[in-house]
Amino acid sequence: MNSRITHPALHRLLWHRAAAKMKGIGSRLFAPKRWLVTLIAFGLAFVWLSQILASVFLRQPADPSLLSERIALGMMGFTLWQVAKVIFRKPVEPFEWTPCEKQLLQSAPIERRELVSYRLLTTGYSVLLKAACFVLVMIPDLNYLIVGFVGCMLGLAFCEFAKTVIEVVIYGGGKRASLVARILAGVGIASVLVICCAKVAGQPDAAEMLASPAAWKFLLAIAYAAGELTHSGIGAVVAGPFRFFSDIMLTKSLDMTLATNMLSGFALTAGSFWAALNADRWMVGNRQQLERQMLRRARSSASAKTTFSNAKNRVVSVPYRLGGVGSIAWRQFLGAWHYRSSIFFSFLLPVILCCIPLFSNTRTGASPLFLIASVAFYSYLLLPAALMLDFRRDVDRLSVLKTLPISPMNIVLGQLVVPVTMCSVFQAIVFLISGMFGVASAGCLLVCWLAFIPMNLLIMSFENLIFMLYPYRRNKEGVDVFLRTILTFTGKGLTWGAGAALVFLWALACKYLAENVFVFGSVSPATVATTLLVGGCTALVLGIATGIICLLVRLFDRYDPSSDAVAMN
């Protein structure tokens, strides 16, 4: 066994791939076929950069001690979130080797340790970019830019490596370890939540916080309470390592304290890197043992099967073809059924978040509006990522879909059926619970629910449109993914704002129309205005959704696997 970190051939590979990726991004951005996408991307990039420049030049530096605390908390929160994700959604395999890496690298005479280092280093490259962006935003608060950059890079790398260690351990430990980790994490999360909720509930303005739009004041209070927990004994131990990185970033002078913090930061990052390598070595050995045990059990038990003997004599058929829409939707439904537990947990958080305002004792006329705003906000923000049961899941099957004897329109509609239905189910659950708490009348909630269906169609078709404009792999990481994520969120934020402004303007117009144009003696202006508002919004949403679906059909129809396919590895 040699002592080098990675194989020289892997350095060469990294270099070649980075150069090719840059070239690929450039050629795709400036391809004549994509001029519109490029234009939008540049527009969004301009908005994003303007926001950053504005935040850099127009804001005052934040309080250093408070900022240091918040940065440490942010890093800790990110790491814990990643860890929780790994625990509750066990990885298929750690590191996610692409088929090419499996074939070419795993059959090559390269030590496993070197391969893992290679994978960790590729993560490190995206950390560089993230750190650069973060430092850019933090310019007013940093006394030494380079030191800040180093601190941020070390911190982010530590978060990534720590996440990898947990991922490897969970995967390597088998089912029992996974179950234990889930129970421990579940108990931990529940305990923290209960403590925080109890703290916030004890505050005098708790009821007011609960009733705020999307319960954001309450959530903010919970976050503050969770932050305060880091001053407790256990909390200080968990948050401790992250404080080194924030202290490095915001250092006031180049003194011995900085040197000590730097040393600690380097030691922590290098330690987590070393821990990831060793965790992988342990994982390989343990998996080997588990596999041998599994083989022994399979041989000794009567249920041992060969690959030929597990066919079931069950007839499966597609319930309704509906011109192909039914067949496509049925396939996605099978996928949803397969991932039912993950989807259930993905639904749980938005349902809880939407229902938080229901715990408020004070009901006002605005309560139903707050509820609707919460449902719309979480449907727009959280559900599209959780319900990838459409084109986004079929990144490797787009060519196959094109060969089917189904019209592009029916394929698009078939792909949208399951996510739209599941979104509507989520909203139905929230409205049902709200109805039980008496937030609004059953009729009002039913109308709202029906009005949300076109909205769901709009949200999901918009997500698919973004995907089809620039197909991507779900679990991929890298510079292009980072840029795409930033631009997508900027775009989503802008459209959300524009949508809200449009609804507001339409509401004003409805009020005017109800009072001056559509005046009926027997019907109150408020009823007319509400009818106009709901009807107009629904018609507008339906119109936009139809337009987006038509665009989606066109894009799918023109999809060319030779030029539009994402790089597989």
Binding site: A9, H16, A20, P109, E291, L295, R299, K305, T307
Partner: protein
């Protein structure tokens, strides 16, 4: 316990076995599987893909691995190549245990997968340079040029892998395998997607490699090709060794076994013998 090969005489009589005889020594086993098993855990329980398979391949021997779809051929090859973990038993390449000394074993092995996955953003030449770097081949330029010329990839030298056709990707994967000087060669359905010229080139080059002492295992459903270039055959059925021996032994053992749809011809083709063996 090793499966002993009782076919030395038959092996020598096969035209392709001359190379094998040249390198035959008591201890000259290049690929050795001892009670090798591979299982997978799926939603419907544990599936045993390969069960207690033992076999030995000597230098110069060309072994055809045949069997139904899902018989365990690819699992066997991937395990020998070190891609899949070994659930039971051992696999050795030139005396190196694949599980204990993977790097040493892999230095002596070349693997051509059935559906080659390449780095889409790397060019043909960059792929070959990468492989040369992995296997520490000094000054690979001349060898790369020779391979590109042999497999008609010269014009694609600077094309990224994503622009290659299925057959060209297969050719590039073969070039990557041929670039080093392996002692053991594992080819999984290597003819898939190749044009007639490519097929001829591959056959000739496999025979040439075997003559220089390389142990070759080819998994294929093309029985005519197996008959053409393989000295020995291993039939896998539901992960178990159904038959392992020379083609002559196969004909002797199953040549007269009746099966549904068998022809009345006294000279049965390998295809018919294969069906007899599996029925």
């Amino acid at each position: 316990m090793f499966f002993q090969l009782p076919f030395t005489h038959a092996l020598a009589s096969h035209p392709r076995s001359r190379a094998a005889n040249l390198f035959k020594r008591q201890d000259a086993l290049l690929i050795s599987l001892n009670q090798f098993s591979k299982c997978y855990e799926g939603n419907s329980g544990v599936a045993i893909a390969v069960s207690q398979l033992s076999m030995e391949v000597q230098p110069g021997q060309v072994l055809g691995l045949v069997g139904r779809n899902g018989a365990g051929k690819t699992s066997t090859l991937k395990s020998i190549a070190g891609i899949l973990s070994i659930s039971g038993g051992t696999i050795e390449i030139d005396g190196f245990d694949v599980a204990d000394n993977p790097v040493d074993a892999k230095y002596r092995t070349a693997y051509v997968p059935d559906d080659p996955e390449l780095f889409h953003d790397l060019t043909v030449e960059q792929h070959l340079q990468f492989v040369a770097s992995v296997y520490q081949i000094q000054s690979p330029g001349a060898r790369i040029a020779e391979l590109l010329s042999d497999f008609e990839l010269e014009s694609k030298r600077d094309s990224p892998a994503k622009d290659l056709s299925r057959g060209m990707r297969q050719k590039l994967a073969i070039c990557c395998a041929w670039l080093q000087s392996p002692k053991a060669m594992l080819l999984d359905e290597p003819m898939t997607g190749l044009d007639p010229y490519g097929i001829r080139m591959l056959k000739q080059s496999v025979t040439r490699q075997a003559e220089t002492g390389v142990a070759v295992i080819i998994s294929s459903h093309l029985l005519a090709m197996v008959e053409d270039i393989c000295s020995d055959i291993l039939i896998l059925d539901e992960g178990r060794n159904k038959f392992y021996g020379t083609l002559e032994q196969l004909k002797l053992r199953f040549g007269n076994t009746p099966f549904e749809g068998a022809s009345n011809s006294p000279q049965r083709s390998l295809e018919e013998i294969y069906f007899s063996a599996l029925n």
